[in-house]
Structures are given as C-alpha cells and as structure tokens.
Symmetry: C2
C-alpha cells in the first residue's frame, strides 16, 4: 500500500514529496551534466590554474556522488555527536568545578557558603527552564518517549528542528552543570536524532536520497544508538539499549548502521579525552580493577539475586513515584494555577529543596553530599572494602572516598541515607521542565544499593565464603556494578544495561551475577509498572500501543470481531457531493473507506479526509463559482442587450458583479468562522446580494447533487485489512510491525468494521486487568463508551452546522489540530 | 488476514489446528473441573493418606496451571541444553583424550603412531556420516540456514523431529571427537531448536497454549539464542548472534526470552564445570589475563584496522572456497557418481587427507598439529609474547605453547603455515556430510592471524609504541582476540562476534579495537560475498529473500509494477466447476485469487489450491457418483418394473451395477496414472462399461457446468495487497516483516498483478548486479524467462490431459510434492 506506515500528519505530503524528490533528482542529474560540460570547457583552457580547477571540480563531483552513501552520513553523525558529547561534558565539568571553587573559597562563613551552594544551581536550573521554555518547549524532558513515538511512524511537530537542538544542548548543559541528580543519556538520544535530522536536511542540499522517508527512519534509529553510545562511550550497549527502548520490531539490516556510527562516535569521544591529556589511552569511563582470577563465589549468587529482586521493586517504585509527583502537581488546581503563572518557580523551588538537603556541612555530610554524580559513582565502584566487622574501618580513604566516612556515623547509615534521599530527589528532579534524563541518577542509586549489600556481605563474611585453601575476600565493588545494572534495567525495562555496565567499567568478569540480577529485576518491575518511558508516554498522551506483557495467554482468544467498530463511515464510488459533505461533517476520522456500493460494501480503498475536503471545495470553490456567475452574467447580458443594447456598460457591469460576489463570499465566510453577522457594515450592498443569493443557493444545491468525480483524488488502493477471526495477538503484531494507525476488517471483500489504535489499546489494557477467560463483556463496554463519546462531539457539530446551512457552505474547512489528534 | 504469515506446507492445517486447540482447551477446562470434583470427594475421606493425596492433587493442579507459562518452558529448555552441551563437551574431551593416549602409547613406532593418528578420526567421521545418513539426513551440516528459513515461516519437513535430534547430537559428538577442524556452534543452534520443538510437544500433553504457531516461532527464536549461549557460555553474544544470523526483523518483546533462557543455560553450563571440579568458580571459557591499566596504545589502532580489513577479505575467500568445493564436487559427474555410490568415501578421504597433514611427527610439527582446537585457542590468546626481535625467544613455553616452537623454524613460519593449512582444511572439512559448524575453526584461524600480526608488531616495537615514560609492551594476545572476532564476523556477517569474544575471554578491555576490526571486516566481506549461511541457503536452494545490501539507492526507484506478474490466475465468484478445473490444470500456484467477476476484477480473497481440489473432488467424487448411479438405477428399475416386474432381481441388479462402476472407476484411474490400458484384463466387463460410460460422461459434463458453491470452502478474505507504485525497498520490508510468500497487486480494488518471493528475489539480485539507474529491461527479461518455463510444464501436462479427457476425469488429483516445491 502506498501508505503502509500510518502517519499522523504527514500522510498528505508523502505523494507530493515523492514527486518533488523525483523532480529534484532529474534536476540534479541535469546539473551534474552541466557540471561535466563545464569540465570539458575548462579542459580547453591550458595552464596550471585550469588544471587545479579541473581537479577541484572532479573532487567536488566525486564528493557529491559519495555524499549519498550511508557510511559518510554515519561517520559525520558519529563525529558530530562525539564532539557535542565532549563539549557538553567539558562545560558541565567547568560548571561543577566553579561551584566547588565558590563553596571552597567561602569556608570562613557557613551562611555565605550555603548561599553560594544553593544559589548557583537555582540560577542554572531556572535559566535552563526559562531558556528551554522560550526557545523550544519540545526540548523538555528526556526525549526517549518522543523518539519511540516518532520511530513508530508518528510525526511530532517541531521535535526535530534546529531550535529544539539549541535549546536541548544548552538547557541540558546548564541543568547538569547545576549538580542536580539528573542524567544526560535520555536527552542525548534526542540530541543525536536532532543531529541526524538536521544533517539529513543539510546533506540533501548536495543531492542524494535524503528525501526518502523510510531511509530517514532508519537513520533516526541509528542516531538513537549513537546518542547512548557517545554518552557512555558504550557502543554495543548503546545499540542494544536504543533498540530496546525505542523499537518494537527491529530491522536487523539496520543493526550495522547503529554499530558503525556508535563505535565511531564512542571512539572519537574517547580519543578527544586522550588528546586533552585526561587519559593516557582509550579506556572505559568508570574503569574498575576487580581481581580477574576469582571475581565471585558461586555461593554469593543468592545475594546477587536479592539485589535483582529488590531492584525490581525499587525500579517500579521509582516509576510510580515519578508519575505520582507529576499527577499530584497537575491535579492540585491551586498549585497548578500558581505554577502556571510563575513557570520558573517550580524548578527553582525543587532545586532549592534538593541543594539545601545536600549542603555538605548540613545534612549533606551524612549522605556524601559534596560528591558530584560522577565522583559518587567512581567511589561506589571502588574495588576496596570500606567496612569490616560491621564498623567503618580506619584504612586510608583516599580522595573522594573520604566523603562516605563520617566520624560519628557508620558507613552503612551513610549509604542508606544516600539511597533513600537520592531516590526521592531523583524522582522529583526529573519532573522539572528542563532537558534531563533519569538513567544516570538511577544508575548511581543502584550502585549505592549494590555497595550496601556488598559491604554487608563483606562484614558478614570477612574472609570470603570460599572454603578451599585460598582466601578470596568479597568484592563490594562488584555488588555495586550488579546493583547499578539491575536498578537502571528495572526502571527502563531493559536487559542491555548489563552490557552498558560492562562497557562503562571495562570489566566483564561479573557477567553472570549482572545478567541474573538484571533479568530478575526486569521480571519484577515489568509485572508491576510500565517502564519510565512508557509511563511518560502515557502521561504526555502520545499515541502508543502498549506491549502485550509477559503472560499473554488470553490474547490468543480475543478476536478482532470483539474489538472492532462496526459502524464504519464510508463513501461509495457513485456517491454525490452531498453524501461527501455529510460524511465529512459527521465524523472525525482521518481516512474514510471507499466502497463500491452501499449494498455490496466491497472495500475499494481509503481516501484521506483532506482529499475529500479538497474535492468538495473544488466543486463549490471560488473559481467554479465565479465561472458560474460569469456565465450567468453573460446570459443576463445577452438578455439585457436584447432589451436595451447599451454596448459599453458591459465591462463595468461584470466588474461590479464580481465585486459583489467577492464581498458576499467574504461575508459568508464570516458567518462560518464567527457565527454571527454583526461585523458586517456594508449593509447597502446586502440588499443587492440577497436577491442574487437565491440563485447561488440553487446553484450550490445543484452542485451538491452531482456525482463525485474521483479522477483527481488520491486514493489509497490497498488499505490494510484484517478479518474477524484475527486474534488480538496477531493484530498487535501487525499494528506494531507496520506502524499502522487503523485497519479495515473485511469479510470476502465486504467492509464490516474498522479497528484503530484506540480500540486495540483499550482491548489490551482491558484484558490485562481482566484476568478471567471471558473477556468479551468488558471489551464490549469499552467499545460502546468509545463510540458514544465521539458521537456526542459529532452531534454538537451537526447542530452548529444546521444553524448555518441555510446561509452558505464552508469554502475550505481545514480541520483543527485537536480534531486530528482526537482521532 | 487469517494467513498473514505465508507458510509453505502448513497453510491448510492452521484453521483445523486452531479449532482443535479450542476443542482441547474446552476439554481441558472440563478435566480441570473433574479434577476439582475429585478433590472434593477426597476431602470427605478422613485420614492421613487422604490428606497426602489431596496435597498431591493440589500440587498437580498448581503445576499444570503453571506449565503453560513461558518462563517454565524457558528454564526447562535452558537446563536441558546446558546438560546436552556439557555432556557433548565431556564426550568430545574423552574422544580427544583417547586419541592422544593412543598416539602417545605408540611412540616406539612412527608408522603405528601414524596409523593410530589417522584411523581414529576416519572411523569416527565415517561412523558419524553413516549414522546421520541412515537416521536423519536432515541433521547434516550446521542447521543455521535451515533455522533461518524456518523462522521466516517456511515449514521444512523432518527438521524438528526426535530422530533428527538423536542423529545430530550423536553425529556431532563423533565428528568433533575426531579432532577435525569443525565447530559445535551451528549444530547447537539446531539442537536447541529441536529441543524447544520437542519440549513444546511434550508440554502440550499437560495442556497450555503450546499449540499456537506464533508462540512456537517465538520459542524457536529464543532456542537459537540458547544454542549459541550454552555453547560458548556467552548469553549476551548468543542472543545477539542468533538474532543477526536467523532474523530479518526482530520482535523486541522476544528479547527477554532469549536473554532469560540463554543466561540460565550458560549459568548451568558453567556450574556443571564447577561441580565437576574443572573450575574453582564460574569464569569465562577462554579466560585471558591482559593488563587492565593500558590495554593498547592509540597508535596501534592502524594495525587493528589492518587485521579487520584483511579478515574481511579472508572471510569472503572462505565463503567462496567453501562454495567452490561443494560446487566442484557436484559438477564433476564422474566423481559425483562414484561418491553417490559410496557415500562414506568422501568423508573418509577428506579426513584421511586432513589428519595425514596434521600428523605431529610429519608436517604437523610445523603447524602445531598436535594441539586440539581448544588447546590452540588457549595458547593463541596467551598474554605473553612469543617472539622478540624477530626470532623465537628462548623463554619457557609452558604446556601447550611448546607446540608452536620448532627447533629449526621461526614461530612466524609456524603461524603462517597454521593459518594457510587450517584455512583450506576448514573450508574442506565443513563440506563433509556430518553435523558440524564452521564458526569455531574460523575463530581459531582468526586468532592465529591476529597473533601473527601481534607478534610482528611486538617484534617491530620491542618496547611498545607509547613514548611517555612508562614502557607498555605490545600484547599479541589482544591482537589474537581482535583477529578471532574479525574473521568470524566476516564469515558470518555479524557484528556480535565482538560480544562473543568478550564473553569467551572474560575481558572487555579491547572493546574499541575489536569493534573497529569487526565493522571493517563486515564492510569488506559483505560487499564481496554473502554470509556463509546465506551461501549454504543458496546452495541448498531453500526459499529465501536476499538482503538489500549496503548501498541500496536504486531500490527506491524500482516499483512493484516493474516486477509483478500481470497474468494472474484467478477464479470468479460465479464460476462453474469447469473453470475451476481448467485453472487447476493450467497453474501450479499454491493459492488462487478470487475475484468478483472477470470484468470488474475486484479482489475478494484468495483460496488455496487444496481447497479448490477438494471442492472439485466433492462435486465429482465417488459418493456423489454412486448416488447418481443409484438414482439412475432406481429410475431404470422403475422403467424395468413397468416392463417386466421381476420383483427380486431388483437388489442383485443394483449390486451388479455398483460392481461395474467400481471396476470402471478403477479402470479410469489406471488410465490416469499409467496412461495406458494394457494392464486391464477384464475385457468382458469392458463392453458392459462402455455403454454405461456415455451416461457418466454426460453426468460429469453436467456437473462441471454447475456453478461453484463456495460455502464450505475456506477463503482467506484478506490476502496481502500492494499497489503498483510500492517501491522495491518497501516491498522487501513488508515481505520480510510478515514472512509473506506472495502478495496481490491491486488498483482501487481491481486485481492487476501478483508478486511472489521469486519475482522479488530476481528483482533484488538483478538490480544488485545491474548497477545503472535504468533497471527495467533486465527485470522484464527475468520475468519473461520465469513465466515461460512454468508455462512449458503446464502445456505438457495439458497435452497429457487432453489425451485422456475423452475417457474420464481424475477422481482425486493430489499434486505431487515437486509441484508444490516448484511454486
């Protein structure tokens, strides 16, 4: 089918775009021919300069021919993103250093110190929120939910523009520079997609196949991998994470694209660090040095399993807490009103609260408050043991590890406080309307939890568990790795966090504990809550299709006939414009079914609403109307010329008639748009028009009774069809495979129903809650409530219409966006 | 659509199966009810024994309710495969030890030593080949190509049976026990799938949803991951490798299944090694101990890139060589004939050649011939440097490393000889008809190549490349890791070999060199040759859809209208049985389009050939024929009774008539099958029949002219439709997404063409070779040649038919299997 991949707003443009691409291509071919002619001409001119020029032209030709190749695009994308990632990291590091410097410089006065500690992040976050709000509100949040929606085939407006890019990069830098518990990983997926979209636009200037939509989707998928890859210098984990998070069905042929671009990007990102003398050679971001020969004992596995299960519950709780905060803020109307007025107050308040609590001389001393996110992670993954025999041991806590040691308080208490405080702080901080992700904060909390379990194990078994000869003490750092992977996996519902931790730490020795913990955490979290990204998709009401979930036995028993809408709006091949008109008024569906006759109901194709509207406006539009008036005037003139024969008045009369019509047209347009006639001043003309009106109304009626001519109308000749007995499971597969928006249900060619994303969503969610075998009644009730609500809207519009029908018809009724979205 | 996923032979059964599953389910529900009634009854009986029984019944009930859950199935599968993998490994180790023991025990006489060294593998391989050949020839080879085909939705007969399982496991153990350069990874994918299929069958005895086909496909995909995972103890790499190798589009919702099962399997596999006291704790299979702080210098990257590019060429060469050998053996008719007669001769000869060349006191001393595959790999990944300043250094080559050191010959020469000899040996050995894979031999060769480059680098830069203070010598073992990943990646066209090496070695420090080399190797190999598995698919002529390849610009310009077959065989809704009959005779398509009328050509659905055949045989079959004859007899009898009224002769006459008809039926059947009448002895009856024949022929003609009643016929009401302007790229996507076999091309409901896998394949392969923009002429020629060949067959059959038409019609024409397959 021409429109296999259901789009929300782009459907109309595809054909036009294809045509444009084709024209451009032929034009380009011509320009290449022109250029080669120039080349020939140049060769006539002798001399060095000419040779140089020939060489340049040839190089240019070669480059342009290569510019369309995938790998050039991917290398450019990787390079660009590595640079962006490095620059952002660099700026964040400077921001954080500045805060530390200020805080350190004011150590004479605690109050001044507090002011500096608190003001700095508040200013940065407020700036970030304000800047993003003004430049591009689409840049707020992580961006992964939006990318998931876009990759499903839905076009979200303004999500891939240059403005959003600028807002996202600057907003993110400021937000992370503030030291709040926020992450850069989600936004980087969005930034990479923005880069890919902009680069694609830029490259299309040089020609090539950058106009093709399916190619663009493929490139966006690769870009998501680059985003994660260059953020963590984790190419493999990046590819896998981006697949898990954004795709439902993944084309394996895109696999190498992701790997290629992500590897290149990660490579450049790390090479930049080497060149900047931060590192001696290319290594992992958070390199660990656990012993290789005996990383863990078999008998430690239950502890790792416990970490996994607890992380599963923790992850679900995090998602729930995050949603709860958003919903609480939204529901409290008083708060909401106040916050809406002072939009920057909420970010400032949250930042104030969080930074007050982490103030190192204050409560922060009990939760390693002075460490940045990166520093805490480095210390948590440390391969030494902090505690032995239950008390903080007096070994030399070098560098940042000191922050975990408190003279009065046990290291266990510090860790517990850190986990609990950071948990709700992260859940709260990620609701701030700035570009930010939740992956990294969750990762750190997970590492702290793992460390806690590890330290407890080390305290419990001071000489390790292993009994045969050699003593292998327990490595709490390994537990931290496991905890980090498990908790971040639970929150995002992904398994690939395991790969990400291996790449981040540069060690794979704990592969089995990590895998076991991540799988258990996923099992628990997936059965309790949606993933963080799906949760945000639901909060933002983006068009989505829920997953079928783990145990989906009952999906094999539900059939399409149980969930389809039987009352399909359709038009027939031999219908007249009046039918068209009525159908357009009574429904809001974006596409309408075209059937042979109302009796046979044989489905011939589907037509977009916009196409029908243009058909209708062509039939009743100004050009035809003017023509009719002109014809009528000519006829009248003939009649008049027989009577009086004035000769020269001819022209002036025609002009006056046209003027009158135009005014009338504007008038009726006013009636349509404003619903009243009060704004109309030219009452002198009104009387003249009124006598004409009858003729025009007659003409309109006649026009409406004509049969529709579908010749110039773009029909999708093969919309997707299902049959009544197709199972819900299969329907879900097909919808997510093809990114469908709706599908017709046919029975031997006859149209009997339609299933849209909405019905499918309700069926899945309904059946998930209703655990019994008999699921038809709740589904039926869902269906009824679904259609009745849309019918209400319809009847209201109908009333409105009836009121104005006697006056005129709309010329060009462009459906408002809300209409489109409600569909 | 009811049959979204195009099947080759199973289409017919799906509906019947679904019904059966439904019936079984309701039956089961009843049985559960029965059981609970039993429970109630039991509770009346007091006493201990009753309580125990109640408990047992309850447990049973609980277990049965759980048995349908995915995770139970996956755990069982993982457990089973881990055991199989461990047992196979154990047996292989014993076999190899036995050979070494024999070889070592006979060190007094070189000739006896040679005999023992050579005879042992020849016997094992011959046994393996013979055993497989007799029990299940489907078990030959790696099995990955077949699994790829099966996961595409094609049903290959006998590939997932218990016999094949036994043949594969025992054949593989013997083949690998012989010490030939063969791998266990490919066969393990097949064995895991066999396990899953058998387990699924077994579990369905307890009820649950094991009958669902799409579930089975999902489970097979997970099984492939388990196969790789438990073979290398590499869960992540296993999942990724299996996805890359077997899928075109991957459902992310299956992801966790693969991870879960593969992790569990790898865990059990390694735990078995710990319990068997082979290992102290769970570690990687080929653990390396490279230094962590400075794994490689940035300036070494060009060397890694060279390994990648060279491996790319090497991989392509390997695939080419492998195919060349198979094709050479097939084409040489004299050889082929001889080999076909003595099927076990080829394996024996190849084994003899290979083992003669590796004989340690002979040529084997120059190529580390006495090492097994595993031992060579361990030594190649060694973290010490073998050579310094270009000559083999006199450090203590402990253990197996000694084999690489030869008193007269440089270690570089040994390595080069090893690489060259093993290269063609592996390519040759994998053509032996035993269960075997090529992954492991290729992996070892790659490691040797990497080691060669590494040793050269170490010789070139004895103090390392790094210039700042500390000396970091070059680690040749790291190069071996890179080489292994690159060459195996190039041969299989996968990127995930990178992950496999990390999991195999337990170190991820060389991630960037490995990724770079693997990607470069893939880029080179993919542009030169298909992957080894695709190559085997082509050799075996399995139904496949080639990939679109790297630069697929032109695919956006080819449209369905360029490749579709316009001359579609169809039947109309109001056709008579004669039309049906003609259509069935003139085409071999497995499904036929059902259109409204020949004028409107509106596509209503598609019907399977088998359905039409059963319709036709119902109309003309024996029951109706007998009925007609009975009626006729009754009418005659009436007539006769009027004339003579004999009373009791009535019955005998009817009997005689029936006998006659039956004989006649058998006769005409003979005519049909043998094409002659010579075998017919009962000439006395012939005359009797001939007079009756006229009536029956008349009846047949009348029957054929009746309109077809489609009421009891299973129609697919929504076959997949494309439009003329759908691009080849999109068509390819849809075909591989949905696993289609064919799709109809419609234009506003009118059927105008059909595209099948064949056309698509030709279009893709044609356009790959024809690099220009204008691709229509070659495509057109492809199409013509394609249809004409099938028409030839048709006309031949037609002639045959015409000859016998005057005599009778076939009763039940079951199409031969070759017909189905030609489609």
């Amino acid at each position: 089918p021409a429109r296999m991949y259901g789009r929300y707003t782009q459907d109309l443009g595809v054909y036009a775009k294809e045509e444009a691409a084709r024209l451009r291509e032929s034009g380009q071919r011509r320009s290449v021919a022109d250029r080669s002619r120039t080349l020939d001409l140049l060769e006539y001119e002798k001399g060095r300069c000419a040779k140089c020029r020939i060489c340049t032209v040839r190089c240019q030709k070669f480059l342009i021919s290569r510019v369309g190749e995938d790998w050039i695009f991917l290398i450019l994308l990787g390079l660009l993103m590595a640079l962006v990632s490095w620059v952002v990291d660099f700026c964040i590091a400077i921001c954080l250093q500045a805060q530390k410097w200020m805080y350190g410089g004011l150590d004479s006065n605690v109050f001044l110190q507090y002011l500096a500690w608190v003001t700095y992040p508040v200013v940065l976050i407020t700036f970030s929120a304000g800047f993003t709000q003004i430049l591009a509100p689409q840049a707020v949040g992580s961006g992964i939910p939006e990318m998931k929606t876009i990759l499903r085939g839905v076009v979200l407006k303004e999500y891939l523009t240059f403005k959003t890019f600028v807002a996202k990069v600057i907003g993110l830098t400021c937000a992370l520079g503030s030291g709040m518990p926020l992450g850069k990983e989600g936004p980087f997926v969005h930034i990479a997609s923005l880069c890919a979209a902009l680069l694609s636009k830029f490259m299309s200037l040089f020609g090539g196949i950058y106009e093709n939509e399916s190619r663009n989707i493929e490139m966006l998928a690769a870009a998501c991998a680059v985003g994660v890859g260059c953020c963590f210098a984790a190419p493999i984990g990046g590819v896998l994470f981006s697949i898990e998070v954004t795709s439902t069905f993944f084309a394996v042929r895109n696999y190498w694209r992701g790997f290629f671009a992500a590897t290149f990007s990660a490579f450049i990102f790390r090479v930049l660090a080497v060149w900047n003398r931060d590192e001696e050679t290319i290594t992992a971001l958070f390199k660990t040095r656990f012993r290789l020969d005996f990383p863990f004992d078999l008998q430690e596995l239950p502890a790792f399993a416990v970490i996994g299960i607890a992380s599963g519950f923790g992850g679900a709780l995090f998602v729930y807490l995050n949603r709860l905060i958003v919903q609480f803020i939204r529901k409290q109307k008083a708060i909401n009103k106040f916050l809406m007025k002072k939009r920057l107050l909420y970010p400032a308040l949250v930042t104030l609260l969080v930074s007050t609590l982490t103030f190192p001389p204050g409560f922060g001393q009990f939760m390693a408050g002075k460490l940045t996110q990166k520093e805490s992670l480095v210390t948590l993954l440390d391969n030494r043991t902090w505690a032995k025999q239950g008390i903080a041991e007096e070994f030399d806590y070098i560098g940042h590890s000191q922050a975990w040691k408190h003279p009065q308080v046990n290291v266990f208490v510090t860790l517990v406080l850190f986990i609990v405080m950071k948990f709700w702080m992260s859940a709260l901080a990620t609701t701030i309307p700035v570009p930010c992700g939740a992956f990294m904060p969750v990762f750190v909390i997970g590492a702290a939890f793992g460390r806690l379990v590890g330290e407890s194990m080390a305290a419990w078994f001071p000489d390790g568990i292993h009994t045969d000869g050699t003593i292998y003490p327990i490595v709490p750092g390994g537990y931290a790795v496991v905890g980090a992977a498990a908790l971040s996996g639970a929150v995002t519902h992904t398994v690939s966090t395991a790969v990400i931790v291996f790449e981040l730490t540069g060690q794979i020795s704990h592969i089995l504990p990590v895998m076991i913990a991540v799988i258990l955490a996923n099992a628990v979290a997936q059965s309790l809550q949606p993933s963080l990204y799906d949760s945000i998709i639901r909060i933002k009401k983006l068009p989505y299709l829920p997953e079928l979930g783990w145990g989906h036995h009952e999906k094999y028993n539900i059939r399409v006939e149980d969930i389809m809408v039987r009352d399909v709006r359709y038009i027939t091949l031999n219908c007249c414009y009046r039918d068209l008109h009525n159908v357009l008024l009574t429904g809001h569906l974006k596409t309408l079914a075209l059937v042979e006759t109302a009796e046979s109901m044989i489905l011939l194709g589907s037509i977009e609403r916009a196409q029908l509207q243009s058909l209708l406006s062509q039939q009743l539009g100004r050009p035809r109307r003017l023509e009719y008036i002109r014809e009528r005037a000519a006829a009248e003139k003939k009649l008049m010329s027989v009577v009086s024969n004035p000769g020269s008045e001819d022209e002036s009369q025609r002009i006056s008639q046209e003027v009158r019509f135009q005014v009338r047209a504007r008038h009726s347009c006013n009636i349509w748009t404003h619903g009243n006639t009060s704004g109309f001043a030219e009452s002198c003309l009104l009387t003249l028009i009124m006598c004409k009106c009858k003729f025009i109304a007659e003409w309109e009626e006649k026009q409406l009774d004509e049969q529709v001519n579908f010749n110039n109308c773009k029909i999708d000749p093969a919309p997707f069809q299902l049959v009544e007995r197709t199972s819900l499971h299969k329907t879900h597969t097909i919808f997510s495979l093809l990114g469908l928006d709706h599908a017709y249900v046919t029975s031997i060619g006859r149209l009997i129903g339609v299933v849209s994303l909405k019905e499918l969503r309700k069926a899945i969610e309904g059946s998930v809650t209703v655990k019994g075998v008999k699921v038809r009644p709740p589904l039926a009730s869902f269906r009824d409530s679904g259609t009745s609500s849309s019918e209400n809207e319809t009847t209201e519009l109908h009333k409105l219409w009836d009121r104005h029908k006697s006056m005129s018809l709309p010329r060009e009724h462009t459906p408002s966006e809300s209409d489109e979205k409600s569909q």
